[in-house]
């Protein structure tokens, strides 16, 4: 009996976990962070969540190809191809665009302009691309709910030679336009290498953490790899409009990634070990 109750509780908790952290309160920056594990399942979740919620989505995808996200999206119940065709989704495929940029005349502005420049000063072209993509047009005004920017991921920009401050400025401007001006949301993924010597990544991660309203941190288990528990998710709410008690601000769950969903449960309450 107690096992059944525990399973019911944990199932309910997984829905609540997803819904509370994915709430559509406007003007929020959600930071996804992963350490010693792959947090991309969170990005796939938010992409399908916001598309299903009828939001206008601009996805800056620097890590995987369009077809990869499409295949995973179909498992989660959304078709990126259809969303792109009906102009709900603006998709910047970084892997393809990065090659295109070298075969275009230099005068034409390109969102990934920084790849061509020896001395990358800022990500203003990328910001202009996002602003154009989420600019409200008359016929779309009624069609979609709030605009959403998804970035997968920001750490790769550091590897491509952009400074941490430039990436922070890019997100700052996106926040000013998408979150404040258009009352939309931003979801960005950053990797936490855990490497004490990677100062640029630390500045990026901490700087973004201070700007965020919600931090979802996926970590591998401290004890190592496990078949039934893939990792731990720490949820931290920051910057509430009213000061709240710090003890209400964080939660930790463990999770298991399945084919078409992710199940969450309290620490130590995995159905496999109960």
């Amino acid at each position: 009996m107690s096992r059944l109750l525990a399973r019911k509780r944990s199932a309910g908790r997984s829905e609540r976990c997803c819904s509370s952290s994915s709430s559509l309160s406007p003007g929020k920056l959600t930071l996804l962070c992963d350490a010693k594990t792959d947090g991309s399942f969170l990005m796939h979740h938010f992409l399908s969540f916001y598309l299903k919620a009828n939001c206008k989505v601009c996805f800056v995808a620097l890590i995987q190809s369009f077809s990869h996200y499409n295949i995973v999206g179909q498992k989660l119940g959304v078709s990126l191809t259809a969303a792109r065709e009906r102009r709900q989704l603006v998709f910047l495929e970084g892997l393809k665009s990065a090659v295109d940029i070298f075969f275009r005349p230099q005068e034409e502005p390109h969102p990934l302009q920084f790849l061509r420049e020896a001395n990358t000063r800022n990500l203003q072209p990328l910001y202009e691309f996002v602003r154009e993509a989420l600019k409200p047009t008359d016929e779309e005004e009624a069609a979609w709910r709030c605009p959403v920017l998804l970035v997968d991921d920001l750490s790769v920009l550091l590897s491509l030679g952009v400074g941490a401050v430039a990436v922070l400025d890019f997100i700052h401007y996106c926040r000013a336009t998408v979150c404040w001006e258009r009352k939309g949301n931003i979801v960005a993924l950053v990797h936490d290498s855990g490497d004490a010597e990677d100062e640029e990544n630390d500045i990026l991660l901490n700087g973004l953490s201070h700007q965020s309203h919600l931090i979802l941190r996926a970590e591998g288990l401290a004890t190592g790899f496990c078949k039934d528990v893939h990792g731990q998710l720490k949820i931290l709410w920051r910057r509430p409009s009213q000061p709240t008690a710090p003890r209400d601000r964080s939660l930790t769950y463990q999770y298991k990634i399945q084919d078409k969903s992710v199940s969450f449960f309290a620490k130590g309450m995995s159905p496999a070990v109960l």
């Binding site: 404040w180 500045i203 700087g207 710090p246």
Partner: protein, 311 residues
């Protein structure tokens, strides 16, 4: 301390903490972290300054004006002047809406103001300024801003919010040396605490740790500390157990046992009697003999092989 005594002292401490931070003048540095954010305390200090009747200039780099003003009532908001460096700090939009000259000019403009009366300048945040301006330039501007003007009507109090994890120890210590009071925010068990370092002129630096929480209207509520588990009291009805009962060894010696112990000759102590006894085997003692039968290949050379070593 009983709870009522704690509350009494708490009320005094509330006034002391915010007032003493503001009374020093000069710069107050608030050091926060991702887990323990400092903007609420900054807003509590701003509210206190505004209640004194001072004008508060906020250099807002990280949040929008609406978000910053949220939670303040109209009397405080009327005293708040928000210099917006959030919307377009780097002049990317080129619409002319950005503050001319960027953040540095905005900071210097505050130094050169001519309107009378003491003011408070809140920098939200110093981290943003430190990431976009050279450290030396920023420190010079801060020094010029918070320098104590002998004319009491023109005093400037500076409140700076610094996100500790974003900077190396050098810039943090440099900014800390400019501050008359430094508040480091941390906490434990869901309760926030402020570790305050006061640098009063001509006095030793003093430390104070204060547990607090901030109410929705940005007033401060002091706490005694994180709730600790109550210590379990021993049951007064159980008699104490004597541990010396039922031992398997002696704790004390009787007089006869002590004499016998003292007179015992230890086996390896060499006295003259023992020496004589060994040298002269007594009649009852059996002497030992060694019987040696050499093997065929034994070398029975009596010479000492080490003789020719010449050592």
């Amino acid at each position: 301390m009983t709870p009522s005594e704690g509350v009494g002292r708490g009320v005094e401490s509330v006034l002391e903490m915010l007032e003493s931070l503001l009374a020093l003048g000069g710069m107050v540095l608030l050091r926060d972290s991702v887990e323990w954010e400092g903007r609420s305390l900054l807003k509590a200090l701003i509210k206190k300054s505004a209640l004194y009747g001072e004008q508060v200039h906020v250099l807002g780099c990280e949040v929008s004006e609406e978000e910053f003003r949220e939670g303040f009532d109209s009397s405080i908001n009327s005293r708040l002047v928000y210099h917006d460096l959030f919307r377009d700090p780097l002049n990317w939009s080129k619409t002319g809406e950005a503050l001319p000259g960027g953040p540095l000019e905005a900071l210097r403009a505050l130094c050169g103001r001519t309107d009378p009366g003491p003011i408070t300048v809140a920098l939200d945040s110093l981290s943003w300024l430190l990431l976009h301006l050279p450290c030396t330039t920023l420190c010079q501007a801060l020094h010029a801003l918070s320098r104590q003007d002998p004319c009491p009507g023109k005093q400037v109090r500076v409140l700076g919010l610094l996100h500790e994890e974003l900077h190396g120890p050098g810039p943090v210590r440099t900014l800390s040396s400019l501050a008359q009071a430094e508040v480091t925010l941390s906490g434990a068990m869901g309760q926030a605490s402020a570790h305050i370092l006061y640098r009063r002129p001509r006095q030793h630096p003093t430390h104070q740790t204060q547990w607090f929480s901030i109410l929705p209207d940005f007033s401060l509520d002091l706490q005694g500390g994180p709730l600790l588990e109550p210590q379990p009291q021993p049951d007064p009805h159980t008699p104490p157990v004597d541990p010396t009962n039922h031992l398997t060894f002696n704790l004390r010696l009787s007089k006869k046992e002590r004499e016998a112990k003292d007179s015992l000759a230890l086996p390896f102590q060499f006295s003259s009697e023992k020496q004589q006894a060994l040298l002269r085997p007594g009649p009852g003692q059996a002497t030992s003999h060694i019987f040696y039968e050499p093997d065929t290949y034994d070398d029975l050379d009596q010479e000492d092989p080490d003789d020719d070593l010449d050592v």
